[in-house]
Amino acid sequence: MAGAMQNRRGLIVTLLMLAPATVLIAVFLIVPMLIVLGYSFAGRDAYGGVVPGFTLDSYRELFQPLYVPIFWNSVKLAFWNTVLCVLTAYPIAYFIAFRAGRFAPVLLILMLIPFWIDFLIRISAWVVLMGRNGMINSVLTATVLDEPARMLGTYGAVLVGLVYAFLPSAVFPIYAALQPIDRALLEAGRDLGAGPLQNFRRVTLPLSMPGVMAACLFVFVPSMGVFAIPVLLGGGKSIIIGNLIVQLFLDFRNMPLGSAVSVVLLAFSSLGILLYMRALRRVELART
């Protein structure tokens, strides 16, 4: 009897401990997301107000020539950002994990610092550097160019800003996958006659694949929702999904259409997460 009482008390305590987080997620994440989903199917009056009902109008509107390029541009930009970040992050993570020795902790902390410095301040540094009379241009005109090059307001500037913002998010998952690799495996490979390249291709790379995939996920998904970089570095010309959402909600107050765009972005990212989990399972299966 006392044991059962104890048990029930334990259960109540557990529930009380879990309640705040559960309520937070349910009330302020799941319910709002469901409202967005509902709004994306709702109609709209002349003032942008939401009219209850079920219609696919908002989704249909997204297929108009006005919006398709924005989606395409976002996917393209996110793709190149992911490729550049992962290709740069891999050698960095490799160096920290295998070569840096006692400097590894210092390099890791250094990598964390830009991660925590205010995002806008970091981007503003690039506005300074890439301006018409900025530092890069003054170096270039003094050496190779006759006229300052236009950097701000270009696609390249947006891409540089994205890589700058997301590089640390790619380094950490790859490092986390590389770091625990048993050095004895590499030695075994070497004893069996494998050169460093073969060792890398057959041992290191496959073992670090989960990290690479996590890096892709951490870079690809959030880079489609960014809106400050295209405005500040791209001059608002090469806009992406993030900008579209901001415009629809804050400038045009078009909630149904904005909701539809958000649902599409959510679908993109869920697809990314799903692919990541499937790929991860395949890697784990292959290993056992």
């Binding site: 259960l11 960095i92 809106f227």
Partner: protein
């Protein structure tokens, strides 16, 4: 690694190419890429800090040392107001976030309940979902319930995105806590409440401080959530900076940036360096 010179000379051409790739790609490329990447990450920040002391408005020509821009930052009323909003929001949301994170982490580590794995995965959702979608969803939610946007909506949004980080930090620390200490306390007749306040809580205090500071930093720097959940008269610092940046870069922003760099570096290096390495290992 590639053997002596004479050995190399006997090797076939294909093998030589392979050895060249091995030696250069892995051996030389990774340090070079690392060096360049760190330069890429840090040069802009250093330039920003250096030019915040530049006497002229130019961002290229150096015309002497000045503290003038810092003075302007401190005199700007709009900035002071925004700073005040940001500090209040960061403090309250970090406090709430740490409390929720600690309760959840302890429940996940110490208690058995059905759906534990599912719940701990669900709690990480705010880390992987696109922030802008969560922000939009909260905006729609607040508007639908006729809640005026302001401190409440901003704090809710910041708690939502900082809770996973707080939970992860406390969870990592709680998992490595020696369970026998609590068992010993129980054997000595302490009840659950006493065990928590006399044993668990003091042991968890350092990671709790880390979680608080991390949540506060994330909230202080948050831009995406605040864009959608801040209201009239409650503009936080990042939003203020954004609108200043849209109007054009000024030395004042450089000075403000330098101050924020200093604050963030301080939090990361001095206070969290040790605990973050623990967090990263998980």
């Amino acid at each position: 690694m590639t053997g002596s010179l004479t050995e190399t000379a006997v090797l076939a051409r294909g093998q030589k190419t392979r050895i060249w790739i091995e030696a250069n790609l892995l051996g030389r490329l990774s340090p070079a890429v690392t060096l360049l990447a760190y330069l890429f990450l840090f040069v802009p920040i250093v330039v920003l800090v250096v030019y915040s002391f530049n006497a002229s408005r130019s961002t290229v020509v150096w015309s002497g040392f000045t503290f003038a821009w810092y003075g302007e930052v401190f005199q700007d009323r709009g900035l002071r107001q925004a700073l005040q909003v940001s500090v209040i929001i960061a403090f309250v949301s970090a406090l709430v976030s740490t409390a929720i994170g600690a309760l959840t982490a302890l429940a996940i580590v110490r208690r058995r309940f059905p759906g534990r794995d599912a719940l701990s995965t669900l709690l990480l959702a705010p880390m992987v979902l696109p922030e802008i979608v969560m922000a939009v969803a909260l905006l729609v939610f607040m508007v639908a319930l006729n809640i005026t946007l302001g401190y409440f909506s901003m704090i809710v949004s910041h708690v939502l995105i900082t809770v996973p980080f707080a939970t992860l930090i406390v969870r990592a620390a709680a998992a490595s806590l020696d369970k026998r200490l609590e068992e010993a306390a129980a054997d000595l007749g302490a009840d659950e409440w006493q065990i928590f306040w006399r044993v668990t809580f003091p042991l968890l205090l350092p990671p709790l401080v880390t979680a608080f500071l991390l949540a506060a930093t994330l909230s202080f720097d948050n831009f995406v959530m605040s864009t959608f959940t801040s209201g009239v008269g409650t503009t936080p610092l990042p939003l203020r900076i954004y609108s200043m940046l849209k109007l054009g870069i000024t030395p004042e922003i450089n000075a403000l940036g330098a101050l924020m760099v200093l604050l963030n570096v301080f939090v990361v290096v001095v206070v969290m360096g040790r605990h973050l390495s623990l967090f990263l290992k998980r």
